[in-house]
């Protein structure tokens, strides 16, 4: 009985830990020269993983005051993550394909 309880407690802890580890991360795909989400609301400290699902290169960047970054060019299947540390509106684009745009509201 004690062993069963211990196993249950350990499993519960692992589930909670795993859920907690991914609570603040959203995956945004780059597919057909578009972002899978045009707008997104997240909290300060959350992350977005930008995954390239197109068979050619993309280059995600932002020059916004709330977050300025350039992930560089990367190929299909690769993903790069950004953690947003400041509240505000972040406009994100692909430098290679300027039609690809999305807006992230960091609250």
């Amino acid at each position: 009985m004690n062993a069963v309880f211990k196993t249950f407690a350990l499993a519960s802890f692992l589930v909670m830990f795993a859920a907690g580890a991914h609570a603040g991360e959203t995956v945004v795909s780059q597919k057909n020269k578009d972002f899978s989400q045009k707008s997104l609301k997240i909290k300060v400290g959350d992350s977005i993983a930008f995954r390239n699902d197109d068979p050619f290169f993309h280059n995600v960047f932002s020059l916004s005051d709330a977050a300025s970054f350039d992930l560089g060019s990367y190929a299909q299947g690769q993903s790069k993550s950004v953690t947003f540390k400041k509240a505000g509106t972040v406009e994100i684009e692909c430098s290679i394909h300027p039609n690809m745009k999305m807006v992230v509201e960091v609250q």
Binding site: P55, N59, L63, S73, S95, I96
Partner: protein, 392 residues
């Protein structure tokens, strides 16, 4: 080809079916004579089997290639997989839907040299219909023949582009229209003088009133009218367009082969940037041209978006009407389509900050020739352009 064969088979079936007299089923006199019946049925079945075999063989022989989008493309006229190369209707903004009056006014303005400071340069001076709506020069010539830094881009199908200019600094045709008039190195026009003159010219006053009733003659209506005219400069009836629509005879075998090389990422890889029906991703790429190695090279898109990858990157032009718009590249450094293909085949010359889409291609002479032939099949039949009567 397969569609043709399929139709042939259908017609064979139809003939067999219609020549089979009514009443020759199981209970017919034919049914009471087994040997003759078998012979007749065999005679009927043989062409059907043969037809099916031909259809199967044809189907197996269809050429298919995975393109730069990772999609399976069947190289057969009119095949549904070619749908993404069908040009849609010309898009236009809600506040400047084209009308005959707007197009007519825009045409007058486009060809009117009085819109330049010296009264000798019009939009058409550089964007000439005689040279594929460009100027056939390596880089343009501006005010008093000043040498400009970049090649004159064609106006053809710019109506489809969501971003304009080699560096993308203008979004729409309306935003772009005034640029050359304002630029001191180009038409170098005194805008105050221009709008006073337009407002004082009865012919223009009436034309503006017909095109934009109740609106002022200013930079907004001037830009709108020129943009409306530019939206009529469209290439959408090339041999390639007709082949995509289903005309088997529109392209020859070498041109189809060239299209295959164009879209195959393991061959030409061209459509990774020259994508879709207008043959552009409207994106920015550094092609590793020799001029990128100059002491102070043109930084291109970097001036608009200061990101490392945008250094020396320029907007992908359409390939439509390529045969009429030599020389090529933003610096006009390729005089012919053959030279252009050779550059890509090398994978670029100055490879600092090279686009990741560029790579050494190792194309054979046959593949390079086929590519050129395919690009020549992207030209629509030439139509005469009637010059407008300019207002006074």
């Amino acid at each position: 080809m397969a569609a043709d064969r399929s139709n042939e088979n259908n017609s064979i079936s139809a003939r067999v079916g219609t020549s089979y007299p009514p009443g020759q089923g199981e209970g017919s006199p034919e049914g009471r004579r087994p040997l003759r019946s078998l012979l007749i049925r065999g005679a009927i079945a043989a062409p059907l089997v043969l037809g099916a075999a031909i259809a199967f063989a044809t189907k197996s022989a269809e050429r298919m290639v995975y393109d730069t989008d990772g999609e399976a493309i069947t190289l057969e006229a009119g095949h549904p997989s070619l749908a993404k190369w069908r040009l849609p209707d010309v898009p236009m903004p809600e506040n400047n839907v084209s009308t005959p009056e707007r197009v007519e006014l825009g045409k007058k303005l486009f060809f009117d040299p009085r819109l330049s400071r010296d009264g000798n340069m019009s939009c058409a001076s550089c964007h000439s219909p005689m040279f594929g709506w460009s100027d056939a020069l390596p880089t343009g010539r501006g005010f008093r023949s000043e040498l400009l830094g970049r090649a004159t881009p064609t106006v053809v199908n710019t109506a489809y582009n969501p971003i304009q200019m080699w560096d993308g600094r203008k979004a729409t045709l309306e935003e772009q229209a005034m640029g050359p008039m304002e630029a001191s190195s180009e038409m170098n026009m005194d805008l105050a003088r221009l709008f006073k003159w337009l407002n004082d010219t009865p012919g223009y006053k009436a034309a503006f009133q017909r095109a934009y009733p109740g609106e002022a003659i200013d930079h907004r209506t001037l830009s709108k009218a020129i943009a409306a005219y530019e939206r009529t400069i469209i290439s959408n009836n090339s041999p390639f367009d007709r082949w995509v629509a289903g005309d088997h005879n529109a392209l020859n075998a070498r041109q189809v082969r060239g299209f295959e090389v164009f879209i195959d990422p393991k061959k030409g890889n061209c459509s990774v940037c020259h994508s879709g029906a207008n043959f552009t991703d409207n994106g920015f790429h550094n092609l590793g041209l020799p001029s990128w190695g100059d002491p102070n090279p043109d930084m291109g898109r970097f001036a608009q978006k200061p990101l490392p990858k945008m250094k020396g990157a320029f907007k992908t032009p359409t390939v439509r009407e390529a045969a009429a718009t030599a020389p090529y590249f933003h610096d006009g450094s390729a005089a012919t389509l053959e030279q252009l293909v050779d550059h890509y085949n090398r994978g670029g010359v100055v490879t600092t900050n090279l686009s990741p889409n560029m790579k050494k291609l190792d194309l054979s002479a046959e593949e390079k020739a086929a590519l050129v032939e395919f690009m020549k099949a992207l030209s629509s039949p030439q139509t005469a352009v009637e010059l407008p009567t300019l207002p006074n």
